[in-house]
Point group: C2
């Protein structure tokens, strides 16, 4: 699949609700195949922009268009969900998906596990609640593990989200395991971030505080029938009082028991309020501009390196130099300056290389 | 401080045991100051290489040179220690530092917390055991938090480790909080990686498995007087039996109670065995070649981007384009291809820019 008409055909099919075309497009993007940039370019016009006024018709076509649905200017809403292993994120996310489907909003779910290259189907296979949606064209779920090294996964997740949005989904749920830098990067690509905690985490709330206090729009205390729910909420409030001075809005704390659906309607209300808040005063556009600035930086970095590789500055060359460095024969800082000079001059001699 | 003689003077001072010079050099590197590459270049000749034969005198000078000490060809040994918050890593690392000091090996400690930009002194300030080393010239501890975005911290940690090695430390202990991608990257820069677990983690051992099973050279079950130590060890063994087929060596599992020093001598024995194993059949050199290959890739990526920034492809320009993308006026993939072309041609017009 290399020419533009084939890519446009794939995009047409995934937009018409063809699940196999959608799955194929996502795989191309996830695997960073050569067609990925053209495919993403072709999807881009079918995603929302934040410029339209509320109530204006959505600029993109999509699988949904029923009367009475909420205004969709700004395109799909990206909701990131993060938290340590064992807090019940998957169950919570499944409940949220149900809630949105009952409200007739279409849902795309991306489950990301940066700690495991193995999860593949497992992460979704265990999730019995999702099976009721197996034949629901308004729902699509996909799990992702690592792509390449640092930063690659956040970029890949953002790309997959874009394809899902182009397929006409109203709500994108992006679930990440853990609370490391990768998860924070992924959360930053969302419009709204939920941080899920449970009672009895002890020191973990403390260890979460820095990165996570900044990204949380809504806190969820799940398994809130356990002892210590009050204490977790109190700790969140204490940390907020330290961190909140630059915030326009204090993130609410919602208690849930996801296994029995308790608190899910309250969470949906909080999410709707957050969505309304974001769609005022250009806040959504401001957030997305920040997202794109980070993403452009990553994309440009990756593109420069891709061109360098295509010009012979590849793994084999780096390995040759790495062995010389490891044996003390080559200074790495002098080498990198020299390699960077050569990357540019090689490109100059062959200006169409790598295009 | 911009000229070479000043940098060489700083390196001479830190090599002679001047702690303030060492602290200053580390700060320059940690903050990615303009002098950092020259400073690291000047440190590089004073770090070990893996080429010497066992028993050959170490090629670098250093603060230690007592007769009877272990052969130090290959320079400082980098020991990475990782594990979830609350497993007692800090106490364990402090005990290990003591153990090495008692064996007359000099120690540098880097405590890294990617989840918190705030830790600064706190991470070390609480560690009473380290205070006995406050006036010990054979010991130096430093905490680090995030530098920039993804990948930056792993690179900065590796750079700080190099400065510590140049100062003559035999053993570098690199402690990271958590088990995300960042920590795995940091661990990959170590020669030996300890993964610390505690009984009663439940699902956490499962969630660790993929990335961590690959990087662990030694498992430590700390707080092993708690219920469930057998079970944790059993789980590790089970996961090993699934993952171990490509491994030459089965990582040992050492039980400790770090608070009272229990098991620390056994851990020291395991570390010495690992060190001997690494120093055979070019294993240390092979590992370090892999490390340098990854690091060269990151360094080249960063250098290409730095040159792009110096040529006007800076945050302001990216922000301008990000706003146009967020409002749907600009296709990001077409933009990045165009920007990359312009980066190269700008560099061509002004070939000395960014040097």
């Amino acid at each position: 699949m290399t020419d533009a008409s084939t890519i446009n055909g794939l995009v047409d099919r995934l937009r018409s609700g063809d699940t196999r075309a959608l799955a194929r497009a996502i795989s191309l993007v996830e695997n960073d195949s050569p067609e990925a940039p053209a495919l993403l370019s072709a999807c881009f016009p079918h995603t929302g922009s934040a410029t339209g006024a509320p109530g204006e018709p959505a600029r993109r076509g999509g699988a949904t268009g029923a009367p009475g649905e909420p205004a969709r200017w700004g395109g799909a809403l990206r909701i990131g969900i993060t938290g340590a292993p064992g807090v019940g994120k998957s169950t919570l996310v499944d409940r949220l998906a149900q809630q949105y489907r009952h409200a007739d909003r279409t849902v795309g779910l991306i489950a990301v596990d940066p700690t495991s290259p193995f999860t593949g189907g497992a992460l979704l296979g265990d999730r019995i609640r999702l099976r009721e949606h197996a034949s629901d064209p308004g729902f699509y779920a996909r799990s992702m593990a690592t792509r390449g090294s640092l930063g690659g996964l956040a970029l890949a997740t953002a790309d997959v989200a874009l394809v899902l949005e182009a397929s006409g989904k109203d709500i994108l749920l992006i679930e990440t395991v853990g609370v490391g830098q990768d998860e924070i990067e992924i959360a930053r690509l969302a419009d709204v971030t939920l941080v899920v905690l449970v009672p009895g985490m002890g020191d973990d709330v403390q260890s979460l505080k820095a990165g996570v206090m900044e990204i949380a729009d809504i806190f969820v205390v799940n398994k809130s029938d356990r002892d210590g729910a009050d204490r977790v909420e109190q700790e969140i409030r204490t940390l907020q009082s330290l961190a909140a001075k630059h915030e326009l809005r204090t993130p609410p704390v919602i208690r849930t028991i996801a296994t029995i659906g308790d608190g899910i309607p309250a969470l949906a209300v909080a999410l709707n309020e957050m969505e309304q808040w974001l769609r005022q005063e250009n806040r959504l556009e401001a957030r997305r501009t920040e997202h794109w600035q980070r993403r452009l930086d990553s994309m440009l970095r990756t593109e420069l390196m891709r061109r360098a590789r295509n010009n012979g500055f590849d793994a084999k060359l780096l390995r040759f130099h790495a062995a010389r460095i490891a044996s003390g024969q080559q200074d790495p800082w002098q080498l990198v300056a020299e390699l960077a000079r050569k990357v540019f001059s090689a490109n100059d001699q062959n200006p169409t290389a790598g295009l």
